[in-house]
Subunit: 279 residues, 2 copies
């Protein structure tokens, strides 16, 4: 069974239809074991992706404050080889970034062939925070869905496997996490009065997310809703989705590598023969 | 009258329908005088564009070898203030550029708000040389027209004024220029056997250009066919087109600057008053 909910071509999305606390009947221990196994498989898949070097993977992580974007990166993609896997975090845009179209800074960060790139927040902020806080007029952000779809289609054609995750937490769970953060001296650097202020816009964000999920769920760049109240279930759901998306490519990659290996061996054999003749 | 031929929404373009030697009945001296006047106006328009800082200008120069891309840059945009006007030249892609989608390196070079950017060759090479020399399969380059249109629409929305010029020379004129280049010791560094080889693909390039001009002529990013056998007429046609595209924006820019100036003056007046009271 699929632990995350794939969206593709939906006309309307209601976040209320998805339970943030879902665990698919799994216990924590069991889920963590499964996750560890999936990550082992991911490590092998990453190696093949890199060796073949023809495709890329782009993982987009979105979610409200405390929904676990950093935690997902640490637990799921952290164990991958950082030579070909890296993270791009999109914060408040700089002046130079604002003096370009909204996809300029995002395009610059797209993965090299053979690499995996994780976007911690992304171009979707430009139809989320920009919409909720009216940073640009509606006329502007309305046109962005179309620009996003065209941009993601360009990436998919590169070719890049695009997987977009909405980490779905409940309002109660967010409150718990914000309160807990206040008590944890190590995590307190993450504290900001802005987090509590943003919480006041909960429903506006819900609406903005529902629109983004519906308008930008395409075959080549699907969204996945990840139940994220339980961190261990969230990790499992993300790991499984990435593994399942790459696994069908594995055989092609292996064949390609074998083919390349055969050619190289032939070249080396010919070289050896030519030396033994001339020598 | 318009010296360059604007294309917008054409379904089919035939280069043979346009005379590369056209001069609109002008003599060289007369044309050069007009061009100088237009450049004066462009210099003022550039200053306003920069001062307001809300829009950008993107000038795309395409054309066969020796068609005068460098000359156009030197004569028409050379006199502009280089603080807010620069050139991006797109040569054979590097390995890093090839490991991304074809628009990656182009997007990185789009103009800052308030600036003018000239593309000396551009993303169109990916449907010209890439097509003629079969650098990628047809299935790939066919999809690129759509990607280009979406990308240019994104720029237009930024907002950026996009003007694309095809410098149209005849096959005879190209031969003259290649031969002349061989005799000129200062220009001989530009010589390449590749130029003569490319000439062998004249008709293939014609077909590729005709397709690109037809498929990517849009309202927000029109193509202009510039008669380019006479360098002085080419310069006039480009200068006029850029000036005519920006002139309608002039009044809005002036109003905007006046408004900003009024606000600043008010702030300064208030500051003066507050000091005279407290003093």
């Amino acid at each position: 069974m699929d632990y995350a909910h794939r969206l593709e071509g939906e006309r309307r999305v209601r976040l209320d239809d998805f339970d943030p606390g879902e665990t698919a009947g799994l216990k924590r221990r069991e889920a963590e074991k499964k996750t560890a196994q999936l990550i082992e498989e991911l490590i092998e898949l990453q190696e093949l992706l890199y060796a073949v070097g023809l495709q890329s993977v782009l993982i987009v992580l979105q979610g409200r404050d405390t929904s676990g974007k950093d935690g997902t990166i640490r637990h799921v993609t952290g164990p991958l080889n950082s030579q070909s896997c890296s993270v791009a975090s999109f914060k408040v845009p700089t002046e130079e970034e604002l003096a370009h179209d909204f996809l300029w800074r995002v395009h610059a960060q797209t993965p090299l062939a053979g690499h995996i790139k994780i976007f911690n927040r992304s171009h979707y902020e430009d139809v989320l925070v920009a919409r909720v806080h009216k940073l640009v007029p509606e006329k502007i952000w309305r046109r962005r869905y179309e620009h996003i779809n065209a941009f993601e289609e360009l990436q998919a054609d590169s070719p890049t496997v695009i997987l977009k995750f909405y980490l779905h937490i409940s309002k109660d769970e967010q409150e718990q996490r914000l309160l807990k953060r206040e008590q944890d001296p190590v995590k307190s650097w993450k504290l900001s009065v802005g987090d509590w202020q943003e919480r006041g816009y909960w429903d506006d964000y819900t609406e903005a997310y529902e629109d983004a999920l519906a308008r930008c769920s395409t075959k080549h760049a699907p969204w996945f809703i990840v139940p994220a109240d339980k961190k261990w279930f969230r990790n499992l759901a993300v790991a499984q989705t990435v593994r399942d998306a790459l696994m069908p490519l594995r055989e092609g990659w292996l064949n390609k590598l074998e083919e390349v290996g055969r050619e190289r061996k032939q070249t080396i054999d010919e070289y050896r023969r030519s030396r033994s003749h001339s020598g």
